[in-house]
């Protein structure tokens, strides 16, 4: 819990002030090419002479923004669609049709391998921060949708939903005021995990050249540039950003697990 919380807090802080506290400019050569870690350049420099430590400090502003915004969009759309498709899974013929249509659409999008699909979306719309966000958001909607729908299907059969309708709620109001708060926990837990994996996916897209354009300080780009030097013995170029990436993803995952316990009113006393 503490580990996840601390790493996430550091990440958020860096996203706010990272570029300001970086000891060197983050997008310009500041020393000799491929200097090993030393007192001046703590993580060494890369092939074009940029300070890796400074760039790692600046990276959360790009990575975390992309991950947070895309996940938030996916969460909002996925939960709303999940509530609708779950709540109206049985009912009039029209309701059942739309509920089914939402699910089939999700099936189709999930049939593509995640990474390839993201690659295609960004490739189609051109590499830019905005397009990466859109692609990741779109990609993550089906996961939130399924999680929420599953929970809604359980919750909607409980009597308090009928009781709410007796109390004068319209069906739509009952769905969003009574059913949604009681079925949102799985999606919330997934929210944190998804941020972690979105960072990973962002880095992956950059790594294959379909992400943010260089020389933006972004972990995937740094790993990509550094990977070529790994072969020739300059390990620090890719290892340092790689470790930061791994720790960040892990932290969000751990945090998500703790969140689940916290969100469950029966396990919290």
């Amino acid at each position: 819990m503490i580990f996840g919380f601390v790493v996430i807090a550091v990440n958020l802080a860096l996203a706010l002030i990272g570029p300001l506290i970086a000891p060197f400019p983050v997008q310009a050569p500041v020393g000799a090419s491929l200097t090993p870690p030393n007192a001046t350049h703590w993580f060494g420099t890369d092939v074009s002479g940029m300070d890796i430590f400074s760039r790692v400090l600046a990276a959360p502003r790009v990575d975390l923004t992309i991950a947070l915004v895309s996940t938030a969009v996916a969460f909002a759309c996925g939960v709303a669609l999940g509530v609708l498709s779950g709540f109206f899974a049985e009912g009039t013929a029209i309701a059942r049709f739309f509920s089914g249509a939402i699910m089939r659409a999700a099936d189709i999008f999930q049939a593509f391998p995640l990474f390839v699909f993201a690659l295609a979306l960004v490739g189609f719309s051109g590499p830019s921060t905005r397009n990466v966000i859109m692609a990741l958001a779109f990609l993550n909607i089906p996961f939130f949708l399924r999680l929420t729908r599953g929970a809604v299907l359980q919750v909607r059969s409980r009597t308090f939903v009928e009781a709410a309708i007796c109390a004068g709620n319209s069906k739509l109001r009952a769905a969003f005021v009574h059913v949604m708060p009681n079925s949102i926990a799985p999606a919330l837990v997934h929210f944190s995990t998804t941020i972690g994996f979105s960072i990973l996916l962002t880095a992956g897209l950059s790594f294959v050249g379909a992400g943010v354009p260089p020389p933006t300080p972004e972990l995937g780009l740094m790993i990509k540039v550094g990977a070529q030097n790994m072969m020739t013995g300059q390990w620090w170029t890719a290892l340092m950003p790689g470790l930061v990436l791994a720790v960040t993803v892990l932290a969000f995952s751990v945090f998500g697990d703790n969140l689940r316990v916290f969100l469950d009113p029966t396990s919290r006393r």
């Binding site: 308090f160 009928e162 009781a163 109390a167 004068g168 319209s170 009574h178 009113p265 029966t266």
Partner: protein
Amino acid sequence: MTTLLEVRDLTVAFVGDRTTRAVLSGVSLSVADGEVLGVVGESGSGKSILLAAILRLLQPPWQVLGGQVLLRGENLLEQDERRLAALRGKELALALSNPRQHLNPILTIGRQLSDVIRAHRPIPHAAALAAAAELLKSVNIPDPVLRLQAYPHELSGGMCQRVILALAIANAPKLLIVDEPTSGLDVTVSVQILDLMRNAVRKLNSGLLVVSRDLGVVANYCERVVVMNAGRIVEEAEVRRFFATPQNVYSRKLLHAAAAARDADLASSGASPVLLRTEPQPEHPLPSASEPLLEVRDLMKRFPVRDGRVLTAVNDISFAIGRGEAVGLVGESGSGKSTVGRCVLRLIEPTSGTLWFKGQEISKLAGTGLRKLRAKLQMVFQDPFDSLDPRQSLSAAIEEPLSLTTDMTRGDRKARVADLLQLVGLSRDAASLYPHQMSAGELQRVGIARAIATQPDLVVFDEPTSALDVSVRADILNLLRDLQQRLGMSYLFISHDLTAVRRLCHRTAIMYLGKLVEVGETEELFRTPSHPYSRALLSSVLYPDPAQRRSPFLLSGEIPSPIDLPSGCALHTRCPMATADCARIEPALEEKAPGRQLSCINVAPERSKTQ
């Protein structure tokens, strides 16, 4: 009669890492040949531990610290596993409740029976199967040879309980031990099972040890009673003496609670625990008959199931409820009574038929009109915990119908919520609590407050007390009666609890497989039920009073599936009075006497004898 089982000074403890806690202290009891002994006590009294100790099934951390369990003088506590295996099933047999869990789901019934038979008798498989078929026949399972091939999931709960009983008596045990034999079964089925059980031990001249929380079962079937509380036997008595003059304080409390379930006046007056034989009617007179408040005409509800077949839950029923009238709707599970309630509130759409409320047809209302209607037509649900939003505080729950269907200001609503809490007997502090912080009884009060918040004309109660403990049940029924008298609402009270209906309702309608079979004034109907199903249902009630043992009027078999309804009268497959015509003619619900409607081609209602 010679002593069959004798338990002497049995002491069992829970031996933990640091603590040792006695769960049975010096328990002694005995069962003679052919005797039926009842062991009663609430959950946690040590009944189950006692059973496990007698059968030597105790596992650590429970340990027997002292005493003897003598079966015909042989101390079971000293026998080794091999001897115990020979005794269990042969001399001592156990029949448990929850039959589905105690049958192996992947073996056929025949295999499970023949296994038990062959464990004690070295006979060939084919002979064992033949014996198994005989056993199934003896517990009244139709087509026994065919059923040998069946798996437990293919049988109904009542059938599984019969199989459990067949397994227990397979080797003609000297002592049969049954644990909560009827929990989860419908009343007309559970009396059949109890009768079977008693007849089986009579035939074998075996002893029967019945463990039950249900004093009705004990009063009707046992000869002696042992009362357990906190691991001790607090009273042992002959059954009539026990129910007439219980000696122990705890026994009196138990009887009191059972009596309270029947008669809340007794509980509130704190009078002697002697049971009242007559039940008070609703005291308030019925307002003179005018235009009915609710009228249900030709209501039909069908659900499509797989393979294009249709489940008929409600089959063409009509009834009316007058202003200020409480009408009970009774029937066993699967009779469609809850579906009727949900149709009346338009929570589900009727397949056909019309509903009229205050002279207006409500079966076609939709949208705002329907939501407005619900302010005047409310419902209280069975499970109070499940029917409240866990993330809504109780005051918010009670306030919600007010803010959605009335124009009251925020301040007025708060004041009304406070009034309502007081009206249902809750303190103001309860308002800020959440459902998981309250007990079931308190939550049901909240459910009632919520339902009456908008001053409805009619409240539908769907089994409002069946999820509650016996003592709480009486309080809630008192509250309901009190509220009806004070506020003049009409009730549609759906329940399988006949005693509750008798106490609360002016008129009662009895339902079987989606049809109303008999409707009449509650007291008259209960005193002189005319329809064969009404007679069977009412005679299935086991009163906790040996002087009131039921006069048996048995239906055979189980309730048929509502998917393939029997032709003609739905009851003809089980009815002892059925004639050839019953399978052909579908009887209509007709007024056979003033105020009494009946749907049977063979009987006419008796004249009410007195009053």
